[in-house]
Point group: C2
Chain length 455, copies 2
């Protein structure tokens, strides 16, 4: 197989410490004690940079789940806050992008705009924001609420939040700062703009107290695959991180979302679709399969059941693990990750899986695609989706760390490079350069008449 | 002069880029264009670490003031967000403490607890939180409010905020994590504690999703010198950053606050008082005085007036700069920094200063103590306050950067070391070790019967 023109795979290194598999920390090679140790993260980020990954990607959540006390003892519930970690990693890397998940549900847009703008400056244009909504009541309880926002309200708030943040990033024009010591002009005040946002969720005046980011705007990443999620992504996202099990589903989603771009005046290239992939790499297929079995056998039952329960927003702890899924609520009643709910319910029905088999299936990839085999077979599976309209790249979720990332960088990346599917050197200087995304033009350059002068 | 026992001066390096003087950016040596450049901050932090400073200290604010458009053009209004910057600096330093200002007025305790706990882990126990309240209406406008909270309400909220944060830091006992792969026990659930805080300002369940910080609690820094500020500090602060012009004022404050500690069961050593100091260093007194004049002459009038107006929470822009201060409101009507208001009003009256003379006086130190002279004279002035019950250390505010810090490290630090007043090597491993502060014991070790088991 080969690709037309120079289109190349984009790669994210999704760090979940000490690995994406729920039992990763029990793996003999996993550094379970390193979950809060900077040296460990530094090594991982430098490995990913050596592998020419586009970015490091970090998920996030705002609670330690207490619903399953046994599971709490069996899984990793403490990790560094992503922006804190990525800021530290920015100082020990030079090229790799830095994507942090920050929720729009329990934050203030001024703070979020400022932190990502700061990271973008300090890293020389490598910041990306994975825009999510929070959907667990246990998170609400840490922020003065009893229950979390309904699905539609979360998206309504997220959209306004995003508008405020991008507006604040444009507080200063790119050439607003003069540094003119003689004329005593540090800044040109006419190039500082107030936002004066008055909305349903937020009133924010601005301007932001950080200059326009190096990238104009840090790269916007989104993950929602529900109807409002897809529409918000089509309007505003530059990278989508999705979860699909089959080529057909991924192709349908890819066509659907890319097809929505034109109505917002966007080209298909302005949005990169990067499904999550959980790779189990062996020197032989047998070795890879043995690795998989080893991890499955390390899953404690309570941890498996609670992970599955969280993913489908339904408590399965009262049911026989070796029986089928019970009758689940209708999709409309689900006030959690709706697309993940559907994906897992369909998977269990399609393959007739018991609760145990289902949690074993998702205890690694958590609903994302699992691929298994030799480096060449892994590359084949990535290439297939890449060339057949299912993906522009992949967010790689190593089963355990650092081994799972080391293997990918050492064996799979060179294979992709040999096939001409992946870069051998970083292009340009910013994450946008690497992802092939253009730098947003400041609105003042687009419509000078519409810009309110500073007053 | 010499000190009894081994009591030594503690030093903070207060970074305000490109210097504390409002005209610093116009100084010929100032790197005005580097305000958002990580390489510049990295060099500064490494210089401070070479000088064996206890900590880097960063102030903060949440607005670009638009009240004085000319001043906006003449001063630096953009800087990196402090926690983002300190996280990055943690990766390129090994010993120096990292103190960030974060307001309790427009934040959520869960986020703040988590970020400082993360920084403390990633830095190996070097984090400190300067707990402040926000007092400008222009900040309120960026957070959905029209006006900022009244002074008493800000302190009420600050105290509850601090209680929640320290409670969240104690979510996990120090030995809660077992990493026991064989027994499938990552954590001991009985050592995870819910906070279940239900207060006037916040309802926060917990636990925090970060392990107990390396230092137990990151070091608590405060700056308020008003009556509620002093009381909150006596109960909770471990470092106080204050602003005093005269030895007598500083001694009175020192005795006052240290005298309040006993009623909270605290020893005098458990709180370090570190006034801000703005040092102008020359090879001769004449050279230092020339440096001072040079900076004063670089202050644009509008910038000087607006700085003074902001510090006293009163708009002086309509008044003759070569006339006296107008009649100012009574202290009770001031809803800003009350102690700074009193300090500046008294200073102007005592010395009969015009508005211009007053802003020239405060355009550098901003109400803090200015000291000037040769390295030996600078050391004399620090030693005098240190040995006479006015200070445990100082927060050094270089007039311009990097030069002002370079001079301090190269000439003043060795002088202090020769006198036995300052360390020549870092003690211990954490910021607490350097400051001589004990590590907070987890409440479960103090009162086992009072701890709610995880359920």
């Amino acid at each position: 197989m080969s690709t037309e023109n120079n289109r190349q795979i984009k790669l994210g290194a999704f760090f979940m410490i000490p690995g994406h598999h729920v039992a990763a920390w029990r793996h003999p090679e996993a550094e379970a004690h390193s979950v809060l140790d900077f040296k460990f993260y530094k090594k991982l980020a430098q490995t990913a940079e050596r592998g020419k990954f586009d970015m490091v990607f970090l998920a996030d959540g705002y609670a330690v789940s207490k619903r399953f006390p046994a599971a709490l003892e069996q899984t990793v519930s403490v990790r560094p806050e992503p922006l804190t970690l990525l800021s530290a990693l920015s100082a020990v890397t030079e090229h790799i992008g830095l994507a942090a998940t920050v929720s729009t549900t329990y934050n203030e847009p001024f703070h979020v705009a400022r932190k990502f703008a700061s990271l973008d400056h300090l890293s020389g244009g490598r910041a990306a924001w994975n825009v999510v909504t929070s959907s667990h009541d246990e998170e609400a309880l840490n922020f003065n609420q009893q229950v979390h926002l309904l699905h539609e309200k979360r998206y309504d708030r997220a959209e306004e939040f995003l508008n405020v943040v991008t507006g604040l990033w444009d507080s200063w024009e790119d050439d607003a700062f003069l540094f003119d010591k003689e004329a005593a002009k540090f800044a040109d005040g006419s190039k500082a703009h107030t936002l004066n946002h008055e909305g349903k969720w937020f009133n924010v005046r601005g301007p932001l107290n950080v200059a326009r980011p190096v990238q104009g705007h840090p790269v916007i990443v989104q993950a929602g695959a529900s109807e409002p999620g897809k529409e918000l992504a089509a309007r505003t996202a530059e990278v989508i991180f999705t979860a699909w099990q089959t080529l057909e589903e991924a192709q349908a989603f890819y066509a659907d979302v890319k097809g929505r771009l034109a109505k917002y005046g966007r080209s298909p290239d302005s949005l990169k679709i990067m499904p999550g992939v959980f790779p189990i790499i062996g020197r032989t297929v047998e070795e890879a399969e043995a690795k998989k079995r080893q991890l499955e056998e390390l899953i404690p039952v309570e941890a498996g059941v609670s992970l599955l329960s969280a993913l489908i927003s339904f408590d399965l702890s009262g049911y026989d693990v070796d029986g089928p899924l019970p009758e689940l609520p209708q999709l409309a009643q689900v006030n959690g990750g709706k697309s993940r709910f559907t994906l897992l319910k369909d998977l269990a029905e399609r393959e007739g899986l018991t609760i145990r088999k289902l949690y074993q299936r998702i205890a690694g990839a958590r609903g994302h695609r699992e691929i298994l085999g030799t480096p060449a077979q892994i590359a084949d599976q990535l290439e297939e989706w890449f060339v057949s309209g299912a993906a522009d790249g992949f967010n790689i979720m190593p089963p355990y760390l650092p081994g799972g990332l080391d293997d990918f960088v050492e064996f799979v990346v060179p294979e992709l490079q040999r096939r001409g599917l992946f870069r051998t050197e970083y292009e340009g200087t910013t994450l946008r350069d690497r992802l092939g995304l253009s730098r947003p033009i400041h609105p003042a350059s687009l419509q000078p008449a519409n810009i309110a002068a500073l007053s």
